[in-house]
């Protein structure tokens, strides 16, 4: 890790790209599928949820990192991590919802309906859990969270665009809806597999 510490900015950039592309949270780790299948029918809803996810993952992974390192580990309470993380995420989402409502009505109308969906989006909790397996410092964790969120945003927007086109075509009855979407995601995931091996962490 010494080498990474020497150039903190470069390492953050590396972590961001690898979290977004080679280790895409949706296409390689399968997280956030439920809300993805539900919301990705159109590009603009995908964009809205995607932005909200980037913001929340970046912030909650950083907060959870601090809590884990400075509260749970010193007290020997690592086994409480699941419950702590989910409470932090739920509280943060609620807090953001209130702030956004006060600050900007336009932003609230754009993001507001997506925020409650985020608490149960497994990508958020997933990023917080995956970061524990990696020897990251605080800034690197932030980059990891932001990169993971960006990867999710990218994937869901692309899927939304493809689904808009597919919905205009005839699809076999049993395959319509979730079936064809899963095949689209499968093909996209195949494309993202092409990125793997480009960056090693």
């Amino acid at each position: 890790m010494e080498q990474l510490d020497m150039n903190i900015f470069l390492s953050m950039l590396l972590i961001f790209t690898s979290a977004a592309f080679t280790d895409n949270i949706l296409l390689a780790r399968f997280l956030g599928m439920c809300s993805c299948l539900g919301v990705s029918k159109k590009v603009d809803t995908s964009l809205g949820l995607g932005f909200a996810v980037i913001f929340v993952t970046a912030s909650t992974s950083a907060i959870n990192y601090l809590i884990y390192k400075f509260a749970l580990v010193p007290l020997g309470l690592e086994y409480l991590r699941l419950i702590t993380f989910i409470v932090v995420i739920a509280a943060f989402v609620q807090f953001v919802e209130m702030v956004v409502e006060r600050v900007s009505e336009r932003l609230y109308n754009a993001l507001g309906i997506f925020l409650p969906l985020i608490t149960v989006n497994c990508a958020i909790l997933g990023i917080s859990l995956f970061m524990l397996n990696k020897p990251f410092n605080f800034l690197q964790t932030f980059a990891f969270g932001a990169g993971g969120g960006f990867g999710w945003f990218l994937a869901i927007t692309l899927i939304g665009g493809i689904r808009e086109k597919v919905n205009e075509r005839a699809v076999p009855a049993g395959l319509a809806g979730p079936g064809i979407t899963l095949i689209i995601i499968g093909i996209m995931s195949l494309a993202f597999v092409g990125f793997s091996g480009m960056i090693k962490l």
Partner: protein, 203 residues
């Protein structure tokens, strides 16, 4: 709606199967199905959490204030998931290393929240427990079906045991080990299952 134990059971396992009917709980269905052993541990964890959290939420259904019910439900679910997490870590540390994060993610598994909201919140404890078990079994049955295709094709093994006369005919389908294989398999299973249930409802 009269919910007898029998209708609850067929609804959970087949008619309203959480995976291919309601499209819930997909994340873990894709992630843990590359090896059958991982799948079995995951399924056991989900059935346990689903059954007991449905029971608990149903027992407390008149005590939980409506406004904060989501957070209470999440806390109930999270406590059971913690038990599952600690148990799997003690019983099978190798498997825990691989599926560990996904076990934690049972908390946000939409099947559990979905059943809590749609069923356990309004029904009596016994029938809710049954509903939880049925949905868990519906989930498990799809996952095991996927794993039974992915593990033999991807690794040439079932539960870690090599297929008979493997070197004569078997060729590794690398794609089945990788994420895309999971997406394609789930799509195919959804397709087959939906066609069968469409046929049935016609007759």
């Amino acid at each position: 709606m009269a919910d007898t134990p029998k209708t609850v059971f067929t609804n959970g396992t087949w008619k309203e199967n959480p995976i291919y009917r309601q499209v819930l709980g997909i994340c873990s269905a894709l992630a843990v199905t590359n090896l059958l052993a991982n799948t079995l541990f995951m399924c056991a964890g989900v059935i346990f959490t689903l059954a007991l959290s449905s029971l608990t939420i149903s027992l407390l259904r008149n005590l939980i204030p409506k406004r904060i019910r989501m957070i209470v439900q999440v806390l109930i679910i999270a406590s059971y998931v913690m038990m599952v997490d600690i148990t799997i870590r003690a019983v099978a540390p190798d498997i825990h290393r691989f599926i560990g994060p996904y076990v934690g993610l049972i908390i946000t598994n939409c099947i559990i929240m979905g059943r809590a909201e749609a069923f356990a919140g309004q029904n009596k404890p016994f029938i809710s427990l049954l509903d939880g078990i049925a949905s868990g079994m519906g989930y498990s049955f799809v996952l095991i079906a996927i794993a039974l295709v992915r593990e033999p094709l991807g690794f040439g093994t079932i539960l870690g045991l090599e297929l008979p006369a493997k070197e004569l005919w078997w060729h590794q389908w690398t794609i089945m080990v990788m994420p895309p294989g999971a997406f394609f398999m789930l799509a195919i299973i959804t397709w087959i299952a939906r066609c069968i249930s469409a046929e049935k409802s016609k007759t």
